[in-house]
């Protein structure tokens, strides 16, 4: 696995660029990831999504179900795709420093 420069730090990422050291995530890391995910500059709405994902992850160690994300942020899926062109599971989760969900999703 490779290390890339994010927020001025060398951080290990997986094959798809998801960070492997979630504890080193911070605002600057998120912004650098947002550049990769075509979600830069980050607006308040970007942060609303990212913060919700992040807080959910800290509590449950997993990304939230899609419906909880749309309900809690008040954004529909279409708008989330506008904010994060690669969608909630790839784009938004990556920026928020979460691992990618796997399985029938």
């Amino acid at each position: 696995m490779a290390k890339i420069l994010l927020g001025g730090m060398e951080i290990e990422v997986d094959e798809d660029g998801f960070i492997q050291e979630p504890e080193r995530w911070n605002k600057e890391v998120a912004e650098d990831l947002a550049k990769i995910e075509m979600a830069y500059p980050m607006s308040d709405d970007h942060w609303k999504v990212v913060n919700y994902l992040r807080n959910y992850y800290l509590e449950f160690e997993i990304a939230p179900p899609i419906r909880m994300l749309t309900k809690q942020t008040g954004f529909d899926l279409k708008y989330i795709y506008q904010l994060f062109p690669r969608g909630p599971a790839v784009g938004a989760c990556k920026v928020a420093g979460l691992p990618k969900p796997t399985g029938c999703v």
């Binding site: 309900k71 796997t102 029938c104």
Partner: protein, 540 residues
Amino acid sequence: MSAEALGPKEVLKTIDYKPVKRSWLELTVEFRKGTYLYTPPRKLLDYLGLPNPRKWLPSEKDWQLPENWRQIILEGMKDRLSKYRSFQLFLDICVRCGACADKCPFFIGSGDPKNMPVLRTELLRSVYRKYFTTSGKLFGKLAGARELTEDVVKEWFYYFYQCTECRRCSVFCVYGIDTCEITMMARELLNSLGCGVNWIVDPAAKCYRLGNHLGLPPHGFKGVIDTAIEDIREITGIKVEVSLNRKGAEVLFVVPSADYFASPHWFTFLGYLMLFHEIGLDYTFSTYASEGGNFGFFHSAELAKRLNAKMYAEAKRLKVKWILGGECGHMWRVLHQYMDTYNGPADFLEEPVSPITGTKFENAKSTKMVHICEFTADLIYHNKLKLEPSRNDRWKVTFHDSCNMTRAVGLFEEPRYIIKNVCNYFYEMPENTIKERTFCCGSGSGIGADEHLEVRLRGGFPRANAVKYVRERYGVNLLACICAIDKATLPPLLQYWVPGVEVAGVHELVGNALVMKGEKPRVTDLRFQPLKGEEGEGDV
């Protein structure tokens, strides 16, 4: 260039069915991005106690195989040949007639001759001949035998993860050879070398640790249920009751975890809860058996057995009478064809009887587990539901038979019967692409990862092509299905090949049509989209 970058028309031009000149024994695998799956991190293999964990990628030259890798494979083959009569039989009896060749969706979508089931099997069969048959030992190449080399292992990895174990080929084989079983054996052998894929091992490890493939812990599951209850209240004005881990409930309800996690699965999940409320079913979810699917099944029989055991352990602990299962594909394959010998018989449960209609589900006598479509079709047949199909009028629906539900379970009519009762517009895809001859989604059996998109788009092409036919002919805009992998992987497939067709579960359509006692006038469907006639255009 990858399929995603190319666009549909250009991809079709890359498919060439003309026989190639070189010998099939020649090794030609190239691990290009989009055509291979990532490998699991060491910690997951360690967690499950799986052999030979290490850091490696298929695209690297050195796979760091364990020193005695050849011995591991050959002993593994020997063991399986003695254990499974079918394995030996399928390796011995093929006459290479080629009836299966053009039936595989991956061959149709790629034109790669080694994706013909006969030749895919030959990749393993040639090694079997070399080390386990007299003719192969004596005559070698002349008898179609070849040495087991590292390149052969690489070729196995490449092609046995381009098979979704959908078993369409087996329908056409005059001998009934089930290439899926060959793929299963090959994957077991690969896994014994630690050559597994992350998309399979990660969900399996999470399921083992936390109860479901996604790794949602019990308190997370509770939050999800509350969100579903809230959604249903917003749409219908009714507050449904849902219990978790309730001892003494009549029925344990098990769904694939994607139903309460992903989209469009979610709307089917709402449909289940609405239906159960309406008929007053005495049921409970379990947070320990919060997964119907079984990604262990795509890894090895051993891992499948370990994951399958949870469901029955929980049914026993909660003292339910029987188990009801949701819209999942391979869960039913495992249940229907393996569970009884993995962890059965479940004789501590009762033979399932619908508490609403009194129907005895004879077919579930042994496993004690009933499919939600059998259950709902029976309710409709006995007039127990009030339905308003016009609420689904924005959809022109076709039905995709999931490979496991048809070829493993034979569930053809129940979902169709339900759809015809809850929708006004239903159109079948061509006869040779449905029921036992259905084309698979191209992403089942644990190969549905993003990094594998080119393979998926090619393997799913025949399915999408049949959808295109009904789209052009009848204006179909919804593909209904009863499998969570379908719901996850068909949307990107259709978006690529036939844009404008959405994907839904059958119980989403049931939830839309279901008239509940005391409900408020519905203005939206379960997707919170206005019902036809409620968009302000007045075209009721």
